[in-house]
């Protein structure tokens, strides 16, 4: 090893790292195979692309050089961190550029074709990162140090491996989903007119932490059901108390095994108005139909068209709302009104896990209802990873 570890480093931070070595090897092998098929000599996960690095190492912060010829990766980590997957990473402190360049050279990549994860937005990961997630100064210096190597985007190489979940990942997602359900129970138990909205927010986060979830921002609204554009809070709401007809639209995220799942549940303080019932019923139907349509091999374009056209038969409106679950910024993200573009041609695979939360709305768009949670794609379509009853929760 050319790199010399620094004398001083910060305190080791412990993160969940309980996937098996079988799972590690599955991930490494799947990435290698895809990269080799694309003609790459290695996959490089540089400083900045923390989610892909965590996927490949289970470390809090790392950089990875994974040769496609079957050799194990060189992993750079900080703060003295190591785990069962990566027993001897190259240790660094705050300096990342030099060890990354040395790792590529030690792996013999001076004249190689190097695939860089996180360089650009991917089709199924880093989907909201228009220009990827790579640190400029460090990456530019690495390129300068390896002038004869070629560097290409390989976000989708890692991305499409992340996109299909293994049995171990599926179990973690299921557990995460149960945490999100528990948090929704807490919301429903506490929500009352007059309650400080920040206190409600705090109690839900407390519940998730007690259950073992890593932090993910809770998003809630708390305006009147009559509000057309309710304010969405991703931090504790300041200066707000729940009203007598508050509609709490909640997006509750939970993370277990580094995998993020979300649950969506509207809670109304008061009785559900009669005029809302057909909209809620329509949403139930499109949710369930969508599960049946969500079979392996179906294109997202076909799913979008069927969902978006479903409501018209009832004189109402429906729209797709779906996003991938995983290590973070997973895709595809399909939202009502957005153009799916290239995502239309993507096919659904067995082992995909999505947050499935289609929208139903009255014809005039005044009433909009979204409900859902994590679903896993099997041979017969989507299967919810949760057991919550459909509908608007009414706290009368």
């Amino acid at each position: 090893m050319a790199w010399k570890a620094p004398e001083r480093a910060g305190a080791t931070v412990f993160v969940w790292a309980n996937y098996s070595l079988v799972e590690r090897n599955r991930r490494w092998q799947a990435v290698r195979e895809r990269a080799a098929k694309a003609g790459l000599d290695c996959v490089f996960v540089p400083l900045g692309d923390g989610t892909d690095a965590r996927y490949l190492t289970q470390l809090r912060c790392s950089s990875v050089v994974l040769p496609t010829d079957g050799r194990p990766p060189i992993v750079i980590a900080d703060r003295g961190s190591r785990n069962e997957w990566v027993t001897e990473p190259w240790q660094t402190s705050r300096e990342w550029t030099e060890p990354m360049a040395q790792a590529l050279m030690e792996a013999g990549m001076e004249r190689a074709r190097i695939g860089v994860a996180g360089l650009k937005r991917g089709q199924v990961t880093h989907v909201s990162a228009l220009d990827g997630a790579v640190n400029h100064t460090a990456f530019s210096e690495v390129r300068r140090r390896l002038p004869n190597a070629t560097f290409e985007d390989a976000t989708d190489i890692v991305g499409f491996v992340r996109h299909v979940k293994s049995r171990e990942e599926s179990e973690c997602l299921r557990r995460g989903a149960s945490m999100a359900e528990a948090a929704i129970e807490t919301l429903a138990q506490l929500a009352r007119p007059g309650l400080d909205a920040a206190l409600l927010y705090a109690r839900v986060i407390e519940r998730l932490i007690v259950l073992g979830s890593e932090y993910y921002p809770l998003a809630i609204t708390c305006d009147s059901i009559a509000a057309q554009r309710p304010m969405r809070y991703a931090h504790p709401p300041i200066g707000r108390r729940l009203g007598r007809d508050s509609l709490i639209q909640s997006e509750v995220g939970a993370i277990w095994g580094a995998e993020l799942v979300e649950a969506v549940q509207p809670i109304l303080l008061g009785r559900v108005p009669e005029e809302w019932r057909p909209v809620i019923e329509l949403q139930r139907e499109v949710f369930e139909e969508g599960l049946r349509w969500m079979r392996p091999g179906t294109t997202l374009g076909a799913l979008i068209d069927r969902v978006n056209g479903f409501g018209a038969k009832r004189g109402m409106r429906t729209a797709i709302s779906l996003k991938g679950c995983g290590y973070g910024d997973d895709g595809p993200i399909l939202t009502p009104g957005s153009e799916a573009g290239a995502a239309r041609s993507l096919t659904i695979d067995k082992g995909n896990v999505f947050v499935w939360r289609p929208l139903a709305a009255s014809a005039d768009g005044r009433m909009q209802f979204v409900w859902g949670g994590a679903v896993e794609v099997g041979d017969e379509g989507g299967r919810p990873l949760f057991e919550r009853a459909h509908g608007m929760i009414s706290v009368a």
Binding site: V15, T51, R60, G132, V134, N135, H136, E141, A198, V210
Partner: protein
């Protein structure tokens, strides 16, 4: 402390916005730049060098815009900035914002060209670590693909690091910022009170963690992970957790160390308090006493004009007089990853010539060690530099809390 629901503060004023913009413009003009560019930066979850990155990577843009993710082009000739964000949505500080569209790089380059910067000298904040901001990010915080696109589209402009141009504006807090940090420090102190209330042998550490976070959130803090260290009092290095620890319970004789941060007005305050589940061991008492004296001596010494090197030498030599050891541990407080950074890891050689200024806010938590280095104790919180020295933003007394009940 008033409940979050009863708070009427509506955010920073336009005067505070103008103060920040002008300070950056003045620093930028003095350095000979035509404009300051705060480019699109990597998000803190992905560039997770430390807890500070969660809010630190995009801190310059937040400082200038109050937006979570934006790019800023601020000409130094007094023109207002052009701002690019994800969707073009404005706020009370900026009503006109450009959407990034399908490329941050293209949008930033377009804004620079519209500001007539094709052949300009452009100062770029976040390219490298600075003296008083981005101290943990040696390679800076900028997103590669978008910035490379800017360089490609403006081949005749000159781009140079200007991290310190924005950094030194952030370094001195305005009155509104000090008020926010004061409330943040009070929230963090309430989090510590909750920790003392809940911490008992047998308690699940995740429950302790959750209770502290709940207390701070209900007082209106944004979520900023508690850093929790727990283990037997005799252990020199305790494991550090930044999420609720899973499968661990507090035990008799355990020591709890922490960094309790609260975010108010977008600024990160921090308080720290050692706790022991049992009586304080005799051999710890002189170390704790030394730490208390270090803390107060440092406050007295911390006057505007002092060089950080002078402060570090004073503190680092303080313990020897008692046959023990001491080390400076401090860093700035603000939008995230604030410096200057003096820690056991970063001894401050880079920032010895940085002067303290009135209006600086630091987390001040010097470390005292026994002579053999086996016992180490740090206690502290936010302090404001005033003409009379350092002033605690929330009144607390140095020491270790012993829970024996």
């Amino acid at each position: 402390m008033e409940a979050a629901a009863d708070i009427t503060w509506q955010g920073y004023s336009l005067a505070e916005r103008d103060r920040r913009w002008r300070a950056v413009q003045d620093n930028g003009a003095r350095a000979g730049f035509d404009c300051i560019l705060v480019p699109h930066c990597v998000d803190g979850k992905n560039l997770h060098l430390s807890l500070e990155q969660a809010r630190g990577t995009r801190s310059d843009s937040r400082y200038l815009t109050q937006m979570e993710n934006g790019a800023v082009i601020l000409p130094t000739d007094g023109r207002p900035p052009t701002v690019v964000n994800e969707n073009g949505a404005g706020n009370s500080w900026l009503t006109e914002v450009r959407p990034a569209g399908d490329s941050w790089g293209k949008a930033m380059a377009g804004a620079l060209i519209d500001a007539r910067m094709e052949r300009a000298r452009i100062g770029v904040s976040g390219l490298r670590r600075g003296q008083v901001t981005h101290g943990r990010a040696i390679a800076g915080v900028i997103n590669h693909s978008s910035y490379a696109e800017v360089l490609r589209r403006l081949p005749n402009a000159q781009f140079e690091d200007a991290t310190d141009v924005v950094g030194y504006a952030r370094y001195v807090k305005g009155d509104e910022e000090i008020a926010c940090l004061r409330r943040g420090a009070a929230i963090a102190a309430a989090g510590i009170d909750e920790m003392i209330k809940v911490a008992r042998p047998g308690v699940e550490e995740a429950i302790l963690y959750a209770a502290v976070m709940r207390r701070m959130l209900e007082l209106g803090s944004e979520y900023y992970p508690l850093a929790l260290y727990t283990g037997p009092v005799g252990s020199n290095r305790l494991p550090r957790f930044e999420d609720g620890p899973v499968g661990r319970r507090l035990q008799p004789g355990h020591r709890i160390h922490n960094e309790v941060d609260a975010v108010w007005g977008g600024l990160v305050a921090q308080e720290q308090q050692g706790i022991i589940l049992g009586p304080i061991p005799q051999e710890w008492k002189p170390v704790i006493e030394l730490q208390r004296d270090l803390f107060y001596a440092g406050l007295e010494f911390m006057k505007p004009g002092l060089l950080l090197g002078e402060l570090a030498d004073f503190i680092n030599g303080f313990g020897a007089k008692r046959g023990m050891r001491s080390l400076t541990l401090m860093h700035g407080r603000g939008c995230g990853d604030d410096g200057p950074l003096l820690t056991p890891q970063d001894r401050g050689e880079r920032v010895r010539d940085v002067r303290l200024k009135k209006g600086n806010v630091f987390v001040w938590k010097p470390i005292a060690y026994s002579a053999d280095g086996k016992i180490e104790y740090s206690w502290g919180g936010c302090v404001l530099v005033t003409e009379k020295g350092g002033e605690q933003l929330v009144r607390r007394t140095p020491g270790m809390v012993s829970i024996t009940g």
